[in-house]
Structure formats: structure tokens, C-alpha cells
Symmetry: C2
Subunit: 386 residues, 2 copies
């Protein structure tokens, strides 16, 4: 709380409580004082909400000025009213910030199927300050939480530039191309096409490698805004920093998965190609039987074999070439002994469980992230709302 | 217990305890005294065990004499020893029954990665009676249980013939073409190609419409043996009876899903074709968020919309054409009121929850079956074994 996370130059903003559901912060807007380039990716859901549609349009020209989020209501499946409401929020924030509505990305997260309480939204927007103070990204990260237990924020320096990312998301996470809500702000100067290429590559290896519960949200959004105020940076260095910050956020999200007690990292190697490694990794990290075994710190490697095996389209996978390792303990094909199983169980009692699967085909590799499945997930979701 | 389920003419067998793990029955063999035709389908898992491979070969010529099952050990991922052991069981049963080993289907279910305790298996097989008594299918159904809470058996008459099916399975169930273990015995007379066609069609609409937890077993097997002793039957009537018996078993399995409290039936209509309806139905019935909402009797239809929406390849699905109904209560697009949500919640408090989704495209339809996700599933699977 005391140490604020660094904010890149030129980003101002507000965060506060509209009163969507309770007295906690449920709103933020972060806006760049200078024009910025943007790259953004969104959910592929057929039930994508109006916020996703408006943000997609806002980002389409590669330029944007800011991001605004309302939490505790997803504004999804709310029909034409939902679209009008989202547009009104976008316009209200843009007016206060003195920018064009089409330069504001908007997102919303929470329960599906209920309109915003627009009376409260309107009076909140009307009260926004004429001049935004410097952005408080820690508070902004907190303002978008739903069942998150803590805000997620990470930062890095790239030459003279600052890169800070915030994220939220604990359930309904199986990004197909983007993920929950995550926003990156930087004062680095990058050409938009370069930023776009770098961002998509990083998202694919980080947020798209994450799965909490196989359920893809209707609202997944990820974007990065670069306003260039800190001048040009080395693109390779920038990509490395972005990857590092994104991976930190992904690990925070996985560890904070609904009811989760442990981060699961599944490293697949020896695949035909990276895409196959990713498919197999997803099958393992999403398997309820693997997830519950991790919860119970049970080195039941047979369930990993099962999860690999259920990828029945991967006809070049043969059990006799597969190797399964928990931590650094091989459990297959080397016959597991009581001693090795005990060592594997010890590894699984930690906060981070690493399961390595080598397919013995070629050198494709991919690492995916997830979490264990616990009674807590059931409790949270059996009566989340309605 | 008192009323035994009818057994078709000519089927003899034994059931008992080998001592694989505990003193409960863990073995059965059912053999037809007359030659029988067979149709069988098996898991598509790349880690399919030796029992599946031997049974596939045994059924390949369309003729078989019997089925044997060992429970409490899957004999999967046990290497060449596992194959030799399975073959020895197949041969031991065949010898006792006086038939060819290649006419005995074999299956095994339980923990993966441990060899059978062959000393006990051998002494048990050596003690099999020289002549098998009439089959006891109730006891056989019980002998293959693992975490099942009760045996699953159903029967029907077709003209003068009897058809009885038994099944086991509570977890690791997402059949891709077959399912857990299920065996059908009949004294009806059918040509093998006809039996095969009918069986595959029925399996596709019943066992392949079932999903407990998306995890496909390494051992899924389903077969039907018809020995013809009751003479010919009307094929249409036979298919109807087989469908009825299979569906009863499917509903028993779903209701008895690990930790499950409720059967979930998802009826998808208005799809482009039946296959699309099945994909959407599976997405809904497998969604952890839908499953936990059902557990909590929470008519959170937004999660059903999410699950439909995450089928992002179904580009002809548009929210404005979708209809979502819990029981007989429409919750979308008709705006749900407190009164309708209360009625939907009442429906969800029952043992069987029906969720209907109409896609408004064409007339494709498919119904799938599953169960809720509860703390019990976590408890059972967090420390099942090792």
C-alpha cells in the first residue's frame, strides 16, 4: 500500500465507487495526456458484450487515449440498452478527459444479463474532475477486482521507459486469444505495427497459456497503450520486459484462481511443434482429475497419462515415447517407487507444482499455467449470484 | 437385492473377489454357451491399455463368447508386463469356460500404472469352477464398481428375447466414441452387421452424449453380445429397446457421477445440424461454472450464455437468436424477473435439471447428459490414491 507501483509518464486517471453493487471501488479510467498507439486483443466469445465491441472499434485504427472499466456488472446479454449504456460511459469518460469517445477502450466485468444502474453511473460520471490527477495504477488494479483476492500489478523498466501492467480475473478463464481484463501502459515510443506484433506474440505465450477453468469469458480484453513520452526503446528489450511483466501477471492470476491453493505449470517438450505442445499442455492443466490430484498433493501420474492420452487426434503420440516428471522426479516410464512417489508428493505440497511431459517426437515446446481445483472453487461458484 | 434382473438365455458366469485391493468383488466373467455375434466400441485414448487392445482384436471378427472384467486396477501404462498379464487373464477365463481366448473381451478399471498382483490373480483363476453357473448380472455389475455408489443395470424385453445391460463409471468420463465399461447381453438373434449398425447408432445418442468431467478414460469399453437363442426379433423394436436400456444406464451414470447430486440434461435445438447441437450441448454440460451453478440451484443463465458463446467456431450462432430455458422457465431473451428466477431456482432444486437452449438456426437437435460439480467430487479425487 505504501509503495506505489511506478506509472509511465503522461498517464492520468481516476478510480472510485459508482455503487454498482457495494461500496468498494468499481470504476477506473486511465488516460494518456499525449496521443498513444494501441494494440488490443479480445475474447472470441459469440456472446461478447457491447464493451468488447466498442473497444474493438476504438482500437481498430491503432490509436487510443485511454481505458475505462466498470466492475461488478459485465453488461453482457443486455440487448440494445446494454450497447447504449456502454456508449454513454465511453462518452462520459471521454468528455471528462477531453478526448474523443472513439479513443477510449471500455470493459466491464461481473454478473451477466443485468443492465447497469444508469442513474448511479450518470451521476458518478457527471462528478468526474475537470482535470484528472496522475493515474494510480494500484488503485485501478484493485477497482476492477470481482472475486480476485488481491490486485495484480507488475512493472519493468526498458531503457528510460516504464512499462506497467494491471490485470484482473480469477474464474471464467480460458482465453482463446486474449484473456480476462489486462491493461499495459508505457511511455516507450514504438511504431504501432511493431507494438502490435510484439504484443500479440507475448499474449500468445502468456495469457493464452493460462487456464483456470476452461470457461471463456464474454468480456476478455487485453490492451497496451504506448504514448512515446520516454522516447524510443530497443524493441528486443521491450519485448523481453513485456513478456516478463505479462508472465508475472499470469502467475498471479493462476495462483489467485477461484479457490486455488497452488499454481500448476505444465511444461510440454519433445512435441511435433509448439502448437501440439500447447494442446497437450492445455489437456493436462485443464483436466479436473489432474487438478484435484494436485490439490491433494497426490503424485497420481496416471492421470497425467490419461490427459495426454485423451488427445486422440495426436496420432504421433505413443506411450512408449512419453516421459512424465513431477518437479524433478520422473514417474513414468521409470517405475515409480515409494521413495520417488514420496519425493514427488513433497514437491506437490509446495505452492507451485511443475509437471513436465516430454513426448519424444521432435522439439516443439510450450508451457501452460493453471491452478488446482478445490472445494473453494465450488463454494465460490455454487452461489456467486442471481 | 431380492429381485434378480433377468438374464438372457445361455449366459453363464462367475463373479467374486481376487483381492486386488480389498475384500469386495473385483472380478466377473460372463460367457455365452452358444456362439454369439458382437459389436464393440472402445476409448480413443492414446494411452489405451492392453485390455482395450486385446478386446479390440477379440471383437474384430464380429464373433465373441464372453466378457471378463477386473476392477480396482486399470492395468494401464504397465508396459509389456501389463500386456502379458491381461493376456494371461483372458486365457485363464477362456480355459475355464472352454472357449477360445480370442473370443473373450477383457476390461480393467481402477488405478493407472500398477501391475496386477498376479500371484493372487493366478490362484483365483486356477480356482474357477469347471462349469460356470447361470450368470448373475446384478453381482457382475457390482463387481466392476470403483467409486460408483451403486451398481447400474437395466433390462428390456424385445419380442421373446431379453436384453440386459450393465455399466460402471463415475469419473474420467467424456467418451469420445465409447464410454466407461458397459456390457449388453441378449439372446435375440441378429445379423452381426445389423447389430453393429444399431449398437453404434445407439451408443452415439446415449453414452457418447454423456460427460461427467471431460476426462476421457484409457479404458472405456462398450460391447453387446447376441447369442440368438431366443430367435429373431424386429430390428426396429430391438433398437428402441437398446436405446431405452442404454439411456437408463446413462442417466444412472450421470446421477452417480463422482460427488454428484443432480443429473443435468441439456437439450439443444434449432442448431445447424445435430453435430453442432452436440458440440454446444457438451460445452454447456461440461462448463464448471454451469455445473457449480446447478449444484447451488442458482438459475445463473448468464453462465449458459457464456458456455454457448465460448464455442467461437460456431459463427452462425448469434445471441439475438438464442433462447435459454431452465425446466419450463424461459430466462433469455425474455427478461428474467424475480418471480421467473424463483421458479427456475425451484426447478434446479430437484434431482434432474433440464436446461434447454434453442439456437434459432435450423432444426438440428441433440440432448446431452452430465452432472453437477460439488465439493464431493473434489474430496473423492483429491485423494483417490497413490
Amino acid at each position: 500500500m505504501s509503495d506505489k507501483t511506478p506509472v509511465p509518464a503522461g498517464f492520468v486517471g481516476v478510480a472510485g465507487n459508482i455503487g454498482i453493487k457495494d461500496p468498494q471501488d468499481d470504476f477506473f479510467a486511465v488516460v494518456s495526456q499525449a496521443p498513444a498507439v494501441v494494440s488490443a486483443v479480445f475474447t472470441l466469445s459469440r456472446f461478447a458484450g457491447p464493451s468488447v465491441r466498442l473497444s474493438r472499434e476504438a482500437a481498430a485504427d491503432g490509436r487510443a487515449r485511454g481505458v475505462t472499466v466498470i466492475a461488478r456488472n459485465a453488461n453482457v446479454a443486455t440487448g440494445q440498452i446494454g450497447t447504449a449504456d456502454a456508449r454513454e460511459v465511453q462518452e462520459g469518460v471521454a468528455r471528462a478527459a477531453g478526448v474523443e469517445p472513439d479513443d477510449i477502450l471500455i470493459a466491464s466485468t461481473g454478473v451477466i444479463g443485468r443492465p447497469y444502474p444508469m442513474d448511479r453511473v450518470r451521476s458518478y460520471l457527471a462528478g468526474l474532475p475537470a482535470e484528472f490527477p496522475p493515474a494510480d495504477l494500484d488503485r485501478s488494479a484493485a477497482a476492477m477486482m470481482t472475486t480476485d483476492t488481491h490486485p495484480k500489478i507488475a512493472t519493468a523498466k526498458v531503457g528510460g521507459a516504464t512499462l506497467t501492467g494491471i490485470a484482473k480475473g480469477v474464474g471464467m478463464i480460458e482465453p482463446n486469444m486474449a484473456t480476462m481484463l489486462t491493461w499495459f501502459f508505457t511511455d516507450a515510443e514504438l511504431e504501432q505495427p511493431v507494438l502490435d506484433e510484439v504484443f500479440r506474440r507475448v499474449v500468445d505465450k502468456t495469457f493464452n497459456a493460462l487456464s483456470i477453468d476452461t470457461d471463456t469469458s464474454t468480456s476478455d480484453s487485453a490492451a497496451i497503450l504506448a504514448n512515446g513520452l520516454a522516447g524510443p526503446v530497443d524493441v528486443g528489450e521491450f519485448e523481453a520486459a513485456l513478456h516478463e511483466v505479462a508472465l508475472k501477471l499470469v502467475r498471479m492470476i493462476a495462483s489467485d484462481g477461484e479457490g486455488a491453493g497452488k499454481l500448476i505449470e505444465v511444461r510440454v517438450t519433445g512435441a511435433r511443434d509448439d502448437a501440439q505442445a500447447k494442446r497437450i499442455g492445455k489437456a493436462v492443466v485443464n483436466s479436473p482429475l489432474v487438478k484435484t490430484a494436485v490439490h491433494g498433493a497426490d503424485p497420481n501420474w496416471g492421470r497425467v497419462a490419461m490427459a495426454v492420452g485423451k488427445c486422440s487426434d495426436e496420432t504421433d503420440v505413443f506411450p512408449e515415447n512419453v516421459r512424465i516428471v513431477f518437479g524433478d522426479v520422473e514417474t513414468f516410464p521409470t517405475e515409480a517407487t515409494d521413495e520417488t512417489l514420496e519425493r514427488a508428493a513433497q514437491h506437490m505440497k509446495g505452492d507451485e507444482v511443475v509437471i513436465s511431459v516430454d513426448l519424444g517426437i521432435a522439439d516443439g515446446a510450450f508451457t501452460v499455467y493453471g491452478c488446482d481445483l478445490t472445494e473453494g472453487y465450488i463454494r465460490i461458484n455454487a452461489d456467486y449470484t442471481t
